[in-house]
């Protein structure tokens, strides 16, 4: 792997850009691998990377139906945070943030993690009490959290609407929260994994599993059958579809979540802002686009299409927060398919089919979890044991009722 840096750019400039190597190889599939990862998104590629980097397992294939990073990894609003309520969630997501903090160096790929702070606003007394409850939980969980009154919020975000419909009573800031370049995360992991020997097989669709004696022994693909010792599935909104190929039904539902960008403008917003009253969140990318998100279309969908009602609501929500943005224009609307489970917490576990592991249930927030999700799935695949950070995020909780309901933790009562 050629090292990146100013020197390599200098060499590129002098050589007519002929010095660059492919970021990943395009090998022909082998007849078998120790581990097959299904899904070349952030989680799948990170799993492959950590299998190699942490466990020395390099006889690995990542099988991707389309192009790597093309699912939710490349469709989300790129927010990274660990402002979680429950100790299990906080430990897991903060580990992820810590990995993100070192990821550019670890991968030799600038993922542009920009810790510009993540703000959650409170618009009424109850909302402010809930932010306090969250702030205290975060601090007890060892996560950075600042609770601010209205003046504090307005000092940090001076552009906020001075005459809002929903008053701003305060805000919770996680200073280490922020955003990163989503594509770069997928590409950086892919480059590192490929360099370690992992095969990345794009345009390869898994069509079935070979299961013998309750244990997975291979996958059928559009490029032939590939044998394997273990399988990790990290396909987000398509988890149920892949699960069904192994005869499994999962506690997952697939919903479209949409996002929007405006045209690029000069810097006008320096943090990530989330307003519960309007369900809107936004930040400004380094390119200058406002990146905006909203809620799920609450009917099942595998169509990666946005819908008009959310576009209208998002516009209204953004303008309520920042009425000066009303004249900016939507440039693009799109959607990703989210794998939603009842308690909005992930599943990183081995399924009833021995050797067949799932990494899913990320709902609307999988991007921030990519490093930890990959790390923990790789650990489980390599050692046969759930990683300590992931042991509560298994299938069993749906039977016992020990859900880790972060929506409830955030004070959403019923």
């Amino acid at each position: 792997m050629t090292r990146y840096g100013a020197l390599s750019l200098l060499r590129g400039g002098l050589s007519g850009q002929t010095n660059w190597q492919p970021a990943w190889r395009e090998p022909a599939p082998k007849s078998g691998y120790d581990v097959v990862i299904i899904g070349g998104g952030g989680h799948g590629l990170a799993t492959a990377h950590y299998l190699a980097a942490n466990h020395g397992i390099t006889n690995v294939a990542v099988i991707e139906r389309g192009w790597i990073g093309g699912g939710n990894t490349g469709r989300n609003t790129t927010i990274i945070r660990s402002n979680y309520f429950f100790p299990q969630s906080a430990a897991f997501y903060d580990f992820s943030v810590r990995l993100y903090e070192g990821l550019t160096r670890a991968l030799d790929y600038n993922i542009m993690f920009s810790q510009r702070g993540m703000w959650m606003l409170a618009h009424d007394r109850h909302g402010l009490e809930m932010l306090r409850r969250s702030a205290n939980a975060m601090r007890l969980n060892g996560v950075d959290a600042e609770l601010h009154d209205e003046a504090g919020v307005r000092a940090a975000i001076p552009q906020l609407n001075p005459n809002p419909r929903f008053p701003v009573l305060g805000g919770l800031c996680q200073p280490r929260g922020g955003s990163a370049r989503h594509d770069a995360v997928a590409w950086g992991y892919a480059r590192a994994a490929s360099a370690a020997g992992v095969h990345i097989l794009q345009n390869t669709e898994v069509t079935g599993f070979r299961i013998a004696g309750g244990r997975v022994t291979g996958v059928q693909t559009s490029r032939g059958e590939i044998g394997c010792g273990k399988v990790g599935v990290a396909v987000a909104g398509h988890s149920s579809v892949v699960g069904k190929l192994a005869g499994l039904s999962l506690p997952v539902q697939s919903y479209a979540l949409q996002a929007f960008v405006s045209e690029p403008v000069k810097p006008c917003l320096d943090t990530v802002v989330l307003s519960p009253a309007t369900g809107t969140y936004l930040s400004q990318s380094d390119k200058g686009e406002l990146v905006m998100g909203a809620g799920l279309d609450l009917f099942l969908s595998y169509a990666q299409r946005g819908s008009l009602p959310w576009m209208e609501q998002t516009a209204a929500g953004v303008i309520e927060l920042f009425p000066q943005f009303s004249r900016l224009r939507f440039l693009r609307q799109w959607a990703g398919i989210c794998d939603v489970v009842h308690d909005s917490s992930p599943i990183i576990d081995e399924s009833e089919v021995a050797g067949l592991h799932f990494n899913c249930g990320w709902g609307t927030g999988g991007f921030k979890a990519i490093p930890a999700g990959g790390w923990c799935l790789a650990h489980h695949l390599a050692t046969g044991e759930a990683h300590a950070l992931a042991k509560d995020f298994g299938f069993a909780r749906f039977r016992t009722g020990a859900l880790i309901d972060e929506a409830a933790g955030a004070g959403i009562a019923h």
Binding site: H238, S240, V241, S249, L250, P251, V252, Q253, S254, L298, F299, L300, S301, Y302, A303, S307, L308, P309, V341, H342, F398, R399, T400, G401
Partner: protein
């Protein structure tokens, strides 16, 4: 914005409705096992294709009804009353 044909009111915009998720799920008895109960609460068919789901015309007549809808194209093949038999549907 879907256009949904309420069996009682005719076609109306999606904003008048609320989707209640997968329909025709059997509710187990109180003495079922934890696994059966978990299946009922959480396991969903979640097909990439035709889905039988129920909708509530909440800002309309107030009636619940069933719909068969493609989760890929969002095309709605049929709507029918909760206690009516399932009509013939595409695969």
């Amino acid at each position: 914005m879907l256009n949904i044909d309420c069996p009682y009111c005719g076609p109306r915009a999606e904003s008048e409705y609320r989707c209640g998720g997968e329909s025709l799920i059997q509710r187990p008895a109180l003495d079922c096992s934890d696994a059966e109960w978990a299946d009922y609460l959480y396991t969903r068919n979640n097909p990439k294709g035709v889905h039988i789901e129920r909708w509530h015309h909440v800002h309309g007549c107030g009636m619940w009804f069933n719909a068969a809808r493609s989760t890929v194209t969002h095309q709605i093949f049929a709507t029918w009353g909760m206690t009516d038999p399932v009509p013939e549907l595409p695969e």
